[in-house]
Amino acid sequence: MTDLAYPSAKKSDAFGKIVLRWLLYFLLGIFALYYLMPLFVMVTTSLKSLEEIRTGSLVALPREVTFDAWRTAWSGACTGIQCEGLRPYFWNSVMLAVPAVMISTFIGALNGYVVAQWRFPGANIIFSLMLFGCFIPFQVVLLPMARLLGMMGIAGTIPGLIFVHVIYGIGFTTLFFRNYYVSIPSELTKAAKVDGAGFFRIFWSIFLPLSLPIIVVTVIWQFTQIWNDFLFGVSFSQAGTQPVTVALNNIVNSTTGVKEYNVDMAAAIIAAAPTLLVYIVAGKYFIRGLTAGSVKG
């Protein structure tokens, strides 16, 4: 581009630019390799047999590809005394994350709509307090939350974990939706009021249809947070209701005898797969949604 714009540029300048450009690509390539290395080792190791891991090099490709380790990780690895693999815990995580993401996203949308478009006295204070909730460290709420869950009779259950994640998510989801809705002109709400629409009608018919980008952002954010959570998972669950992150920890830490690196690696990849998938499928909306704001029209 610049070369076209300045045809009279000196040759040495053009040469310097090309060298710089290649240097940049080279550096970026190095960094990319550096970050991909662990994934490479994980994938290759999970496809090797234990025998080969013991004898071969860490970074070598598998001589013989075998999916035994994956099978074991999915349905046979031992977490403590049970040997059912990750499968039941994976479904625990799904049953936990899906409703928690949906509920917290919905509440965040409603909260954001109120704080941004239905200004009431004290709206800013309430919003600030919600924001403050985003920055309370998890450890601080562990004991009070355990007590609350006990009193509500949902301690150690999946609904209990859903409850915890919804509460913790509201701060962030409200923030996302509020910042999105604040850029929508308040005249839109006024026009709808004159047209006779009420609070929920305006939300359903006008604001929600506008919200796809920010819904995608919120869903990715919340899903990643909730799926990857370990602390709440390990604190507020019991045998049978543990999420996949806790089960992964148990598989890796509780094996006796020979350490099955291939099974550990396969299990780690399985546990991380859903968040990876969400990013790959919806990642471009994430960037777009975060930078989107003003609504034209």
Binding site: P185, E187, L188, K190, A191, A192, K193, V194, D195, G196, A197, R201, S205, I206, P209, L210, V295, K296, G297
Partner: protein, 365 residues
């Protein structure tokens, strides 16, 4: 006839800040009321109060004889057009126009018939399946009007509907709104900061400043007999010349003496002047100062003035001269030949003059 809109002693506060003070307005069915004033004068707030989008602090608001002070916007039988048009971005033009009817539960057949009527009236039939994002500014404006028209309300409210359009389109839409008002015979309340829009559209103008009504009257009243210095300065382009002067009672009427930078002061006689204090401010529209000989009548007097600046504007030529320490503009014919630095004979129409008290700014005659 009973007033269609009556506002009595309306006050509006935001916390301790008084936005609107003691507003009293009444208009008849078919009136076109324009609220005009500089930005921040409270005119849009007043419109929002009429619409019910802002609660009022005290006072009373009646629409067609019914007390609407605490009634929600949807039950006031009004329709509103907003500055940003406020079209629903995810709905098609047709859905935008019928949304209100859908919310109120009007049956499908009536919706379709009314949509058809309005689309024909505004010539937007070919746009019905587009979304607001695919429309130009003028088209969005039409759709916003359509959304209001389809309600057939007692009162149309317009909140600076033309300020987002370019100059040419603005003039076009302005005359279209005027036409619409004439064909529908509807009552409209219109907010603008553009005094030309106010003059061309209104049957009645309310001039606001700092939340206080400065003057209510027909465009002619506001233009010819401004109630105070603010209205005199705000309405009209170029603005009214406001010249400090000394008044003396003379044999017939009053002698008005205007200081000039060099030479003797300019003395004018006004036979119809009321009794005036010594210090006055003389208000003269630029078109009431003409070339010598072009005006006749009892009040017309000749004056020779030093030309400071000449501004040809196509249809008119503006000549600026210094009188009483102020730049005074005269609107002359386009073909007038005037040269800066030379004297020019002008005739001043004293029958059109306004007098203001310098301390209070109030009109004296």
């Amino acid at each position: 006839m009973a007033p269609i809109l009556e506002i009595q002693n309306l006050y509006k506060n935001y916390g301790p800040v008084e936005i609107l003070k003691d507003i009293n307005i009444a208009i008849e069915p078919g009136d076109f009321l324009v609220l005009v004033g500089p930005s921040g004068c409270g005119k849009s707030t007043l419109l929002n109060c009429i619409a019910g989008l802002e609660p009022i602090t005290s006072g009373k608001l009646m629409i067609d004889g019914t007390d609407m002070t605490d009634v929600s916007p949807k039950d006031r039988d009004i329709a509103m057009v907003f500055q940003s048009y406020a079209l629903y971005p995810t709905m098609t033009v047709a859905k935008n126009i019928t949304f209100g009817m859908k919310v109120r539960g009007v049956d499908q057949a009536t919706q379709a018939r009314k949509l058809d009527e309005v689309a024909t009236q505004l010539q937007i039939e070919q746009l019905l399946h587009r979304r607001p994002g695919q429309l130009s500014g003028g088209q969005r404006q039409r759709v916003a009007m359509g959304r209001a028209l389809v309600r057939d309300p007692k009162l149309f409210l317009f909140d600076e509907p033309l300020s987002n359009l370019d100059a040419k389109l603005r003039v076009e839409m302005r005359s279209e709104i005027k036409k619409l008002h004439q064909t529908l015979g509807a009552t409209m309340v219109y907010v603008t900061h553009d005094q030309i829009e106010a003059m061309t559209l209104a049957t009645k103008i309310v001039v606001l400043k700092g939340g206080v009504i400065q003057q209510i009257g027909t465009p002619a009243e506001i233009y010819n007999k401004p109630a105070n210095l603010f209205v005199a300065d705000f309405m009209g382009s170029p603005a009214m010349n406001l010249i400090p002067a000394k008044a003396r009672a003379g044999g017939t009427g009053a002698q008005i003496e205007i200081a000039r930078g060099t030479g003797a002061p300019l003395v004018l006689t006004d036979q119809n002047a009321p009794s005036l204090p010594e210090d006055v401010i003389l208000g003269l529209r630029p078109e009431d100062i003409a070339e010598a000989g072009f005006r006749a009548g009892v009040g017309v007097q000749q004056a020779s003035c030093l030309v400071d600046m000449v501004e040809p504007a196509g249809a008119d030529t503006y000549v600026v001269s210094e009188l009483g320490g102020k730049q005074v503009t005269a609107r002359l014919h386009a073909e007038t030949v005037a040269t800066p630095g030379e004297m020019l004979d002008l005739s001043i129409d004293m029958s059109k003059v306004s007098y203001f008290a310098p301390e209070t700014g109030q009109r004296l005659n």
